[in-house]
């Protein structure tokens, strides 16, 4: 029986749970002996003219070796936006020049012997800023009265498409429109950002940093510093979570290389949590307008979405999120007409990047709310409206009006499974009883169906490299271009190699994140790793066995066709001659037994599913509590159910958190209100029920594993289900819509307004 599909316990955990992982800040390395500590002095003002930065007092402080300001890095060209659609004037200077554009913008850098000295000295840097009005919302940005980049002449960072034609909904019996907020959230990886850099005598720099893709980060850093990439060696040690925010290099990482050269000593930097909450990329941040139109019998005829993406102060990957939202606008539905357009706008806030799902959760949240709004408008059960409009089962590629080509889908089956597992009819009956009795705790039932895109080519290609080497002692090493940071690649990749070679999982070491050893790699993001990196490991193992067969044939002087794989013995056996054969280890003793391969995915894959959330809302206080989350997530063939369930659980937690709790807030002057974990309502286990997982697996033809991505699906499906459930719980009181997060105050106020006969939306 194949090891694939079994619940192999994570091989990385004994170390992580005992000695602990080695994160960048934990590194003990000769090359970092005597490292100086980097402290960034950040703007406390969101928007203003930077009049002066006086470092004289800081220079005199104990332990201070150097203090640099923008003048000192005149040799550094500004960091390009890296995205062709962004006006060139919107690039980011290494240190704020002339202006500061968000609370957290870097105005000076302090190098000290000890870390604590850096915080002391940073307080002595006196920064004189003449405040300007802050652009905090996308509406402010669109108004364009205050510009972040005067030279650009606009706050628009990118525009995608045109508004829908005026007659787009003509002929529809019912048209519902809603503006909604897909709020800005903070990714909050447990490991905050950290980096270290040391120059060697050979003129090369080694950079260690916590990141989701060493190779991409290396390329960016070399480019920003104007260096030959061959002179950069980048290592990502153990990484404690990323959720998208550790995709690509951060300026701070590149800075460590420059600082180490300038100071002539290695340097290291680790940010604290408050710095992380303002300095690291945020996620989501879309203002959406949806319109949905159709007939009173429940048939939807047209759907449109307009996206205003908050880009933050400087363009990062967040500004392309509207394109993913637009691509997935048609979702699981057979809407005949779909229109989507968007733009990204500069605001005086932290830059937006990718966050678990990156553009797809925003698409799903919008359409799933739209379906519920339409259902409420025509007085039909939301499950029924979905049934009527889902794309019927398909196994041949299906192209949507928003331009995506789905590989395979069983959306109705997923929905029916979820409804059945949840006991939908009984839930509706219980809801009716509570409404009848006017109880304080009302029941809300929320649905979502979703399809998302994983392994998408976002410009870095859809290929992944793998190297597999068997050693003479019977162990093996896998080198992968993916970049695990919690997912369990060491376990899954070892399973894939073991499945083909018979080498036991515990004898296989999986290495990643070292650009000298693994020059090519796409990292871990966009739920790509198994379907591309895992497929590459599988392919490497297949190729290695083929190579071994040739060698064994020569060594045993038999025809290769007479050899068969002996999985139990991790070797090759001569068919029909018991005892005759050779192990892979023996072959490796003769000459290195190693293959390097590259798997090229023909296309992305489209995992799908359906979620049912049950919440209780205390209608007197407005507080919503999640009682149940029933989830069908179809990610094709599952290599290790334990790992897949872990990804689903984590995804649900973050998805639920967006619906109920989390939001990064700024005041009107652009001051962050959520820059500690006392203020940012990070979800914890106490707010979450035990999740009810329903299995469904429709293999994809796109890769030999049949696997689709599972890293982000949980987030994508759960947010709208929970959001819809909260609103459903108070719908009988006249509430039509409440923006996320559905805080007690917002829910209570929506009820008050509805009761007073006003519209709450």
């Amino acid at each position: 029986m194949s090891i694939l599909g079994t619940r192999v316990v994570r091989t990385e955990d004994p170390l992580f749970l005992t000695r602990g992982a080695t994160y960048t800040d934990d590194l003990v390395d000769d090359r970092l002996t005597g490292a100086l500590h980097v402290t960034f002095v950040r703007s406390q003002v969101a928007h203003g003219r930077l009049l002066s930065v006086d470092t004289s007092a800081a220079r005199e402080a104990p332990g201070v070796v150097a203090v640099y300001t923008a003048e000192d890095c005149a040799d550094l060209a500004p960091i390009p936006a890296g995205l062709p659609m962004v006006p060139p004037a919107m690039q980011r200077p290494w240190l704020a020049q002339g202006k500061v554009r968000f609370v957290g913008d870097i105005v000076a850098v302090v190098l000290t012997e000890e870390r604590y000295q850096g915080e002391d000295a940073a307080e002595l840097v006196s920064v004189d800023i003449d405040p300007l009005p802050a652009v905090v919302t996308t509406a402010d940005a669109a108004a364009g009265e205050v510009l972040l980049f005067e030279d650009a002449g606009t706050n628009v960072m990118a525009t995608f498409g045109e508004p829908a034609p005026a007659d787009f909904f003509s002929g529809c019996e019912v048209v519902v429109e809603q503006r909604m907020v897909n709020q800005r959230v903070a990714p909050v990886p447990l490991e905050t950002r950290a980096a270290a850099a040391a120059w060697g005598d050979d003129g090369r720099v080694t950079i260690w940093c916590t990141n989701q893709g060493a190779q991409q980060a290396k390329g960016e850093i070399a480019g920003w510093l104007g260096m030959d990439p061959a002179r950069v060696h980048l290592i990502t040690p153990d990484v404690g979570g990323g959720f998208g925010a550790k995709i690509g290099a951060d300026p701070e990482y590149a800075f460590t290389a420059w600082l180490a050269q300038r100071a002539g000593r290695p340097v290291r930097w680790t940010e604290n949590r408050s710095e992380n909450l303002v300095g690291m990329l945020h996620g989501r941040g879309q203002d959406q307008t949806v319109r949905i139109g159709g007939r009173r019998d429940g048939t939807i005829e047209a759907y449109s979405i307009a996206v205003d993406q908050d880009g933050g102060a400087y363009p990062r990957v967040g500004i392309i999120l509207p394109t993913l939202t637009m691509l997935m606008a048609a979702a699981t539905y057979a809407f005949p007409k779909v229109h989507a357009h968007g733009r990204a706008l500069a605001t005086n806030t932290t830059s937006i990047g990718a966050y678990r799902g990156a553009g797809r959760p925003e698409a799903t949240a919008a359409v799933e709310r739209a379906i519920d709004l339409f259902a409420a408008e025509i007085g039909m059960d939301p499950a029924e409206v979905r049934r009527k409009n889902l794309v019927p089962s398909f196994s041949e590629p299906h192209t949507t009006p928003s331009g995506a080509t789905y590989d395979s889908g069983e959306y109705t089956a997923a929905l029916e499974k979820a409804l059945e597992a949840a006991g939908y009819d009984e839930l509706r009956a219980e809801q009716a009883r509570r409404r009848e009795r006017g109880e304080a705790r009302q029941l809300g039932i929320g649905l979502s169906t979703y399809v998302e895109i994983t392994g998408a080519d976002t410009g870095l290609g859809s290929a992944e490299s793998a190297e597999l080497e068997v050693h003479a002692d019977g162990t093996a090493t896998v080198l992968t271009g993916t970049s695990p940071h919690g997912q369990g690649h060491a376990t899954a990749w070892a399973m894939l190699a073991s499945d083909q070679t018979g080498i036991p999982v515990e004898k296989i070491t999986v290495l990643h994140g070292d650009t000298d050893r693994i020059p090519r790699g796409g990292g871990t993001m966009g739920s790509r790793s198994l379907q591309q990196g895992g497929a590459a490991v599988h392919q490497a193992a297949v190729e290695l066995v083929a190579l071994a067969k040739q060698r064994a044939a020569e060594r045993l002087e038999v025809d290769a066709a007479d050899l068969e794989l002996d999985l139990a013995g991790a070797g090759l056996a001569v068919r029909g001659t018991p005892g005759a054969g050779v192990t892979l280890a023996e072959l490796a003793a003769d000459e290195p037994l190693l293959v390097q391969t590259r798997f090229e995915a023909a296309a992305p894959t489209f995992p799908f599913g359906a979620h049912v959330a049950v919440v209780e809302v205390d209608v007197e206080s407005g507080k919503a509590e999640l009682q149940r989350l029933v989830a069908v997530d179809d990610a094709g063939t599952i290599v290790n159910p334990l790992l897949a369930e872990g990804q689903r659980h984590g995804g649900y937690a973050q998805g639920v958190a967006q619906a109920l709790l989390e939001e990064v807030l700024y005041d009107a002057d652009g001051n962050p209100q959520t820059s500690t974990l006392a203020d940012y309502p990070f979800v914890s286990a106490t707010e979450l029920p035990s999740f009810e997982l329903v299995d469904m697996a429709t293999p994809t033809p796109i890769n030999p594993l049949g696997a689709k991505g599972i890293g982000e699906a949980g987030t994508i499906g759960s947010t709208p289900a929970v959001h819809n459930a909260v609103i459903d719980a108070v719908a009988h009181l006249g509430v039509r819509h409440i923006d996320m997060p559905t805080t007690p105050m917002k829910v209570w106020r929506a009820i008050q307004q509805a009761q007073q006969g006003g519209s709450n939306a």
Partner: protein
Amino acid sequence: MIPGAFEYVRPGTVEEAVAALVEHGDDAKLIAGGHSLLPLMKLRLAMPAVLVDISRIPDLSYVRVEGDEVAIGAGTRHFELEKDDVARAEVPILPYAASQVGDPQVRHRGTLGGTVAHSDPASDLPTALLALGGSVVVQGPGGRRSIPMTEFWLGFYETALAEDEVVVEVRVPRTGSAGWAYEKFTRRANDWPIVAVAAVEGRVALANMAGAVVRATATEEALARGASIAEAAGLADEGTSPSSDMHADPEYRRHLARLLTRRALEKASGAGAAAA
């Protein structure tokens, strides 16, 4: 998130602690569990030059019955109070309120004296103590004095405690099986209250409805003259001055105060001690 530099002294007795406060005056700060002070220091919102660590002074952690009162040592950790059998039998609202503070780490570090002295308007135990009544016993250079609970909390981070005084004990009346309730409203289980209400024997105290924890006087007066729970609870926010933050604006806080007071009074009158 690294505090500014400070000196550190660890007195062995309350007298020595008082002496250290006298010696260093303004520059000194007591530290007990550190779970209010250290976060402020890490954010550099507090930068005391001298920390006087009283957490290892012996015999400051106890719960005992003394006549009609229960005396609780200032060094008692929230967790110890939560689990204490005497407290559970004699003043059950206190161990229950202690169990609602933060998360297990906080409850194992934070002390009663610390939360009382800190005077955060959102703190759980002071709210329950204010509803109980009784007194805070403090010790200064001139010896001990007792401050009535109703006169102790003056405002945000402001108490009747003098700069050179240490809270050594809290004394509350034994309430035994009298009805009580503590209603804490949060978004997450381990959060500070957005609003909380403590009710015991017709006395009602509110968390986070003013600069300090306060009594709902109008509600208490209404109850005293025989008003219904609904009517009395409707007055709970009278005279309060709730603040605005991302969780609640004043209007919503006032609503919560009235709602939670109604629920607390219903619980206290109905189920009595069973509410625990």
